[in-house]
Symmetry: none
Subunit: 180 residues, 4 copies
DNA sequence: CATGAATGAGCTTTCATTCAT
DNA sequence: AATGAATGAAAGCTCATTCAT
């Protein structure tokens, strides 16, 4: 009746519900209901509840690790671009799931770790290329990259939890200035 | 039989278990068991499960908001000191609970919000006092304070989730350099 | 395993137990046990315990409100027939439940109210038709109908609670005589 | 601290709560709370919960069984007076308890049985004395007395449950007319 | 008498998961 | 693949009752 769409609709429903109320607080029955499929079918596609989360992260979250070109001399611009285009292909809902359920299952944690590493790598790359002459030692550069990654990763959560908004562009400019 | 200790032991047990497996994944029965009290007694002190979490945050978490002295000229030192002494009186376990269960209940979120605001306030204060002449505009100072707060708040989670360690002292030095 | 019978067996068991010990004093576990189904299945069909009672009243209690023919001149006979055939399709057990749990839930109360109204309507109809000339004013006729309804409704409870038996036929004859 | 009032206040509270929500639905804790006494004290005065109900019925319900004078010739008046002054000394709340909890415990049932018997006895007495010559045979007189008792006992419940009001005076007049 | 912490059996309800069709 | 009834362990919570002080 649903052909290949049943599985997709289950994942759609789970994405919405996990992102809203959290994995633990979402019964499989509600996922099936929202997906419009019978409860049994859910377990046909995903033998255990955790498999829904795992598949979600596996299939709807992609940390892009390809090389990026950087324009020497415009480190701030490169960081801003990084902020606007996280190396993460994922819907806002999936992002929330990724951060929220990081300790629910290893596969989620692993994905988040990869994302963090990739952001750091790119930030480091941008800063290195952009600041010729290697002013500022390696340790400071490392701290700068890690700081930028932390801000990017938690900016959204922080805003949601504390109401305090952080402007990534301002942080980018700040960091570049620190290394300039 | 337990005098005034039963309630305390329940909170002790909850602190340990919530910090370990999370609020949702911890049955009240296990809390009681670890506390060495009958299940019913838990509900004598805490009518609903969520009240255990609320009391924990209420009683074992204190965001200190008193004024702090700052030494003009040593902004990096002030930030380092802030990092080493968060304006938060709480055990490591309670800290984990605070960050992890922020979306489980409003009272937890509120406490985390207050903590964030207080860190930003102190960081701003330290930076303002330390950099005479007001070099660097207000917006940049604001970004610097918020960045430092984000790093302090999530440093521990980040390390736990991604394995990547951030050195707050290095970040402090970086930020001060940016405003210098 | 049970086909369409599981739900029926649950209602059967509930009917027996509610009628015996009362709604409040009957644990859902005993209903399931008597029905020979697992506890969980009861909540599959009836999400809350009260839904068992509501369904019971809804499905196993019918107040028939169709018109009735009355033989002019034989009011006592009509009332006796009314007593023997209450406009209520329900087992003796369901009758007991109806009277006993009237304040447990609105739906039970509503059903009992409808039954009372219907008995009064029929009694009035029988008396009106049977006594040509309208001897006895309207108020007396109304009191007669209400009295007969009260006796019919509570006759069984009264007997059970006080041990005192009332003969509806004698009351019918009495009432007709009063209006004669 | 309360001297002899504690026990009284417990009974007061129980009377209010039993009459409102019913015996089963009233926790002993709420009784103690409303009475303003600690839970333990309740069980000092009443070892089991049911003892509260029993004491209530024992002490706050009195079926008066003394002789009554009847005025020959005014049966309707005698019945009306009986309706207005039930041979029952009890608050409206206690009345509700008596009818509602009749199957909760034997002592309540017994009291209700005594009340019913006494009403029948008085109604019979009034009718016998008032109608000289013994018109109407004994069986009809018996039915008349029982009918009047049924109406008096359940009039209040009926009104509460079905919304239908019965006027005892009209029933009195009706019954007397039936025997006249 | 007075107190309220302590006790544990039992309650309703939830839920992931299985399985026959 | 599709269906939803079936299952039972476990959850949160209630409550009459006990008891040490």
């Amino acid at each position: 009746m649903y052909r290949q769409t049943a599985r997709t609709r289950i994942l759609d429903a789970a994405e919405e519900l996990f992102s809203g109320g959290g994995y633990d607080a979402t019964p499989t029955a509600r996922i099936a209901e929202l997906a419009g499929v019978p409860k049994g079918l859910l377990f046909h596609y995903f033998p255990r509840k955790i498999d829904v989360l795992i598949s979600l992260v596996d299939e709807r979250t992609l940390v892009t690790e390809e090389e990026v070109e950087a324009v020497p001399g415009d480190a701030a611009g490169a960081l801003s671009r990084l902020a606007r285009r996280l190396p993460l292909h994922a819907s806002p809902a999936m992002r929330r799931i990724l951060f929220r359920e990081a300790d629910t299952h290893g596969s989620v944690r692993e994905r988040l770790g990869r994302l963090n590493a990739e952001i750091i790598r790119r930030a480091r790359f941008a800063l290195e290329l952009a600041m010729p002459g290697g002013r500022g030692d390696a340790a400071r550069l490392e701290a700068a990259a890690a700081t930028f990654a932390a801000v990017l990763l938690y900016q959204e959560s922080l805003c949601q939890l504390t109401g305090h908004h952080i402007d990534p562009d301002a942080v980018a400019e700040l960091i570049v200035h620190a290394l300039g």
